[in-house]
C-alpha cells in the first residue's frame, strides 16, 4: 500500500512541479547553479571511474582470449560495446544516484527540516517548481557526462590494452570501429535522458516529502539511493527490451 501511495505521490509531484512557474529571471540563475553542481561537479568522479572500468574490461577480455582463433581486435570491440551499451549509461547512472541523488535528497530534505520549504510556500512560491524544475533542466545535460564517460572509458581500455602488452594500438582501434552500429549510441542516449529525469525527480521526491529531523534526512538519502537504483535497473530492462529486442 505504501508503494502505491509513493507512486501516486511521485506522479502528483511531477504534475505539480510544472504549475505556476518561477520567473525566468530567477529560474535562469537556478538552472546555471544546478548545472554547475550536478553536471560539472560530477565530471571528475565519472572520468576517474570510466577510465579504470574501461581499463579493467579491456584486461579481463584479453585474459579470457585463450583461443588463437579469436582475433585480438575483440578486446577493442568488447570494450566499446560494454562501455557504450551498459557501463556509461546505466552504471554511471547508478553511481550518479549515489552522488547526485543523495545530494539532492539531503539538500531538499534539510530545507524541509529547517522550514525553508514552508517559508517558500507561505510566500506563495511553488516550492516544487522552484526547487525541482531547475534540477530536471540541468540534468538534461547529463548525456554530456555520459558522452565523456564513453570516450574516457574506451580510452582507458586502449591505455590498459596497449601499455599492458595485451594488444597493439592498431588492433584495438580496429576492434573499436568494427561492426559499429550507430543506433547503439542512440539507444544509449535515449536511456540517458530517461535516467536523467529519474535522477532528478526520485531523490527530489524523497527529500521534499520527508518528515522528521536530521536523522530522517540521512535515512531519506539512503532510501532515495536505493529506489533510484531500483527504478533505473528496471527502466533499463524495459528500454532495452523495447529498443533493441
Amino acid at each position: 500500500m505504501k508503494y502505491l501511495t509513493d507512486i501516486g505521490g511521485y506522479a502528483i509531484m511531477v504534475f505539480d512541479l510544472f504549475k505556476k512557474p518561477t520567473k525566468w529571471r530567477i529560474m535562469k540563475n537556478l538552472i546555471l547553479k544546478e548545472i554547475d553542481e550536478l553536471i560539472f561537479g560530477s565530471l571528475g568522479i565519472i572520468v576517474f571511474i570510466s577510465f579504470f572500468i574501461g581499463a579493467v574490461v579491456s584486461i579481463q577480455t584479453a585474459m579470457n582470449l585463450t583461443s588463437d582463433f579469436i582475433p585480438k581486435n575483440l578486446i577493442g570491440f568488447a570494450t566499446r560495446q560494454s562501455i557504450i551499451l551498459e557501463f556509461a549509461p546505466t552504471f554511471c547512472s547508478i553511481i550518479m544516484a549515489g552522488k547526485v541523488g543523495s545530494f539532492i535528497t539531503s539538500s531538499i530534505g534539510t530545507m524541509r527540516v529547517t522550514e525553508q520549504i514552508d517559508a517558500l510556500e507561505v510566500m506563495g512560491v511553488n516550492a516544487l517548481n522552484y526547487l525541482v524544475f531547475p534540477k530536471i533542466i540541468a540534468m538534461m545535460l547529463y548525456p554530456f557526462i555520459i558522452a565523456v564517460s564513453m570516450y574516457v572509458g574506451i580510452f582507458g581500455g586502449w591505455f590498459a590494452g596497449v601499455f599492458g602488452g595485451f594488444i597493439t594500438s592498431a588492433d584495438f582501434v580496429e576492434g573499436v570501429t568494427i561492426d559499429f552500429i550507430p543506433f547503439h549510441v542512440t539507444y544509449s542516449f535515449i536511456k540517458t535522458f530517461v535516467f536523467a529525469f529519474l535522477l532528478a525527480t526520485i531523490p527530489s521526491y524523497h527529500g521534499f516529502y520527508m518528515k522528521g529531523g536530521a536523522l530522517e534526512v540521512g535515512k531519506a538519502s539512503t532510501t532515495s539511493f536505493v529506489w533510484t537504483s531500483v527504478v533505473i535497473i528496471i527502466t533499463n530492462y524495459i528500454l532495452t527490451q523495447l529498443l533493441l529486442a
Binding site: 505556476k20 518561477t22 520567473k23 529571471r25 530567477i26 529547517t114 522550514e115 525553508q116 514552508d118 517559508a119 510556500e121 507561505v122 510566500m123 506563495g124 512560491v125
Partner: protein
C-alpha cells in the same frame, strides 16, 4: 482582521484542533499561548494555509480562505509575512538575497529599487553592514531580524511569528518583541505570535488566546490575564515563582 470560526484539524485519528473560534484584530499583537502539544503550531499553520483545516472557516478581512481559488490563495499569501521559529533563512543566499527574495519573485522592480527597499527594511530592524553576510555568519538574534525584515519587505497585511524569541537571550528577546510590536503599529497589520515566552505575553500581548488540548481555554488582554480565575491559565502563566509574585503585586496595586 482574521476571523476563525469553529476550526478543526485532525491527522489520521488524532484530533489536534477541536473547534477553535476567535478574532485577531488589525493593528494589534495577538498572542497564542499554551503548553507544548496544545495545537498552537497546527493552528498557526492552518492560518498560514500550510495545513488545510478538517472543518471550520478562516476569513482574512472578510475573504474566506477555503473558498478562494488556488491563484487567489497564492495572492493572499503574498500579503502574509512569516517569521519561523528557526528563522528559515535560505542558506545559499546572503542577508540581502534573503530579504530581496520576495521582491524578486513577485515584483517587477529594478535591481536598484529592490536594493533601496531592502536597505530600508534592514535599517528598520536595526541591521546594518550585514547585507553580504550569509545566515551562518550571523548570530541567532540577527537571523531573527533578517527573518522579520524578509517578512515585512512586501508590506504584508498579516504577520505571523512562530516562537520568535526561542533560543534568544532575554535582552535580545525583548528587542525582538518590541520590534514586532512597533512594526505592527507602524504598518497597521494583523500580527499573530505563537509563543511560550511569558515575558512576551506581559510586554506585548494586546490579545492573548490560550489553547489547551486543541480547545480555546481562555482569551483576553495582558491586563485581564492578571485577574483571571481560570485555573489552566494561571497554572500555565504563573508556573514560576517570579510571575506569581508579579501577579500578586499587580493585584495589590489595583486594590
Amino acid at each position: 482582521m482574521i476571523e476563525v470560526d469553529n476550526l478543526y484539524k485532525s491527522f489520521d485519528d488524532a484530533n489536534i484542533l477541536k473547534g477553535v473560534s476567535t478574532v485577531f484584530d488589525t493593528g494589534k499583537t495577538n498572542l497564542i499561548i499554551g503548553q507544548s502539544g496544545s495545537g498552537k503550531t497546527v493552528f498557526l499553520k492552518c492560518l498560514l494555509g500550510l495545513f488545510k483545516p478538517t472543518e471550520g472557516v478562516i476569513c482574512y478581512d472578510g475573504k474566506k480562505y477555503g473558498e478562494l481559488t488556488d491563484t487567489e490563495q497564492r495572492n493572499l499569501r503574498q500579503e502574509m509575512g512569516m517569521v519561523f521559529q528557526g528563522s528559515a533563512l535560505f542558506d545559499g543566499l546572503t542577508v540581502e538575497g534573503n530579504v530581496m527574495f520576495p521582491l524578486e519573485m513577485f515584483t517587477q522592480q529594478s535591481k536598484s529599487e529592490m536594493e533601496d527597499r531592502v536597505n530600508l527594511v534592514l535599517q528598520r530592524v536595526n541591521l546594518i553592514d550585514a547585507n553580504h553576510k550569509f545566515p551562518s555568519e550571523i548570530s541567532g538574534g540577527m537571523q531573527k531580524r533578517v527573518a522579520i525584515a524578509r517578512a515585512i519587505v512586501m508590506n504584508p497585511q498579516y504577520l505571523f511569528c512562530d516562537e520568535p524569541n526561542s533560543g534568544l537571550d532575554p535582552r535580545t528577546a525583548i528587542v525582538i518583541d518590541n520590534l514586532i510590536k512597533e512594526i505592527t503599529e507602524e504598518y497597521n497589520i494583523t500580527t499573530v505570535i505563537n509563543t511560550h515566552d511569558m515575558n512576551s505575553v506581559m510586554e506585548i500581548g494586546e490579545k492573548i488566546l490560550f489553547l489547551k488540548d486543541g480547545l480555546k481555554e481562555w482569551e483576553g488582554t495582558k491586563h485581564e490575564i492578571f485577574k483571571t480565575d481560570n485555573q489552566a491559565v494561571t497554572d500555565f502563566v504563573y508556573s514560576s515563582e517570579l510571575f506569581k509574585k508579579v501577579r500578586q503585586m499587580y493585584i495589590e496595586e489595583r486594590n
